[in-house]
């Protein structure tokens, strides 16, 4: 992957000036590149990765396995897009294996998620079945460990 993208993926808060120093490039050029990446939607967006438990968030998250009937011409795309557009859906992937879509949803309460599945998702024409797995505990999300490793003690001076 492009080194600039890699850096932004690691920490999107780095400014073009900081990135320019690290990558040994011109800050204006970096700013232009970032703008282009944003405009072409290579960079889809930015967000903070939040430890919800620490933030005191009572909300629930679930991963739903969805089986679909593919359509002639478009395969799963139309239906998958339709599902993705619901606000409750935080991510949606077509995957290989025993089911077709892995849909991640979040809601304020268990009931809210259950209602979304029962009323919105399952009732869509083309949806054959769903299986909902509620998230119980987060160990790692978006590349971050929920419990970071303890700082390791290096010798302060070593040859």
């Amino acid at each position: 992957m492009d080194p600039l993208l890699k850096e932004l993926q690691k920490d999107a808060k780095q400014t073009p000036e900081q990135l320019a120093v690290l990558l040994g490039q011109d800050a204006e050029k970096i700013a232009d590149q970032i703008r282009e990446l944003e405009e072409s939607a290579v960079i889809m967006g930015y967000h903070a990765v939040v430890d919800r438990e620490k933030a005191g968030d009572q909300g629930v998250r679930a991963m739903i396995e969805v089986r679909l009937t593919p359509e002639r011409g478009g395969g799963f795309d139309r239906l998958a897009m339709r599902i993705s557009k619901f606000d409750q859906v935080t991510s949606c992937y077509l995957i290989s294996g025993g089911y077709d879509l892995a849909v991640e949803v979040e809601g304020e309460t268990l009931r809210e998620v259950a209602r979304f599945v029962a009323e919105k998702l399952s009732t869509l024409e083309g949806v054959i079945s769903t299986a909902t797995h509620f998230q119980l505990k987060v160990y790692k999300q978006n590349g971050f460990l929920a419990q970071a490793e303890a700082e390791k003690a290096r010798l302060s001076v070593a040859p």
């Binding site: 490039q25 302060s156 070593a158």
Partner: protein, 394 residues
Amino acid sequence: MNLEDQICHQLRGIPRSGIRDFFELVQAKDDVISLGVGEPDFAAPWHIREAAIYSLEKGETSYTSNLGLLSLRKAISKYVDSYFHVSYDPAKEIIVTVGVSEALDLACRALLNPGDEVIYHEPCYVSYSPSIVMAYGVAVPVETRAEDNFALRAADVEKKITDRTRVIMLNFPTNPTGAVEPPEELEKIAKLAVERDLIVITDEIYSEIVYGEDNGIIPAKHTSIVTFPGMKERTIFLHGFSKAFAMTGFRLGYACAPHVLTEAMMKIHQYAMLCAPITSQAAAIEALENGAPMMEEMRRSYAMRRNLLLKRFEEMGIPCFEPGGAFYAFPEIGKFGLSSKDFAFRLLEEENVAVVPGTAFGKGGEGFVRCCYATAMDQLEEALNRMGRFISRL
């Protein structure tokens, strides 16, 4: 009984390491940001640690063959062939050691008769000269120059060759300078070794941490002296897992050499060490088989921090050549009117930043300090801010 008198003469002749004095000073202070550490700031990648845990879980707690696990030697052979383009027989030409340090000691002890001379380049890693002397050899330093970016001139090596010279010892990329050796100069040194029938010991520990195009974001191509004509049969190739795989505490290295030489080194190793720890060997197999992506990620991270350091040095008016490898910069501080030692001591005293005086790595290090940039980015930035403040007062 005066116990001082009981210490053997050979050891008494070796001065205490300059780094140790400095270390004790740093230890006594709180909140020091240290650029004085000679190791990666990463923990060993998890998949490597996990392989070590798994090995322990399986109850692999025994001795291994003196030479090291055959499966590890096979993996080493394959790796050395693919990265360095030189092939060694895992059955007879590879010995697994406790770090490159042990391998270096074995090589010196296996080769040197009292009074034999070993040529090596300075500034260099602190253990070369003592390793030579402890093996009753004579350490013959060749100074590398700032104007050459601390690369070694073959002509300078040639001037030091005498009838007693047995070995040329090389370490590129170099600790403490970060210097790399241009292949054309390396070739000349190889020719010298062949003409004068000398053994070459090459410490390749930083070979993967090299900076090429796009300001080092792309790795450079590394050339080892062993690849030149006539060299494989006279080279002891030393390498290990500490730096590129961030496995310093696993203490694992290896030596590759013609069978006669590994056999001689093995004689010492089997009596002095028996074998390298099996847990570390299991971890090393995992590192060689699956460690390349993480290794590159770490290398790239060093490259970016190197760029930051060089940029800030430039802004502060501290002259520093662009190091081609390792994770050290060797800025020139002579113009601030302090010796290396005074510079490092005062920087520590006044700003709580530890750098290592260049003189800890040989006389030629006067006027320089070693800064290790394998340090967390925020710490590195803060250390550079403090350094800027410090030199503005000088």
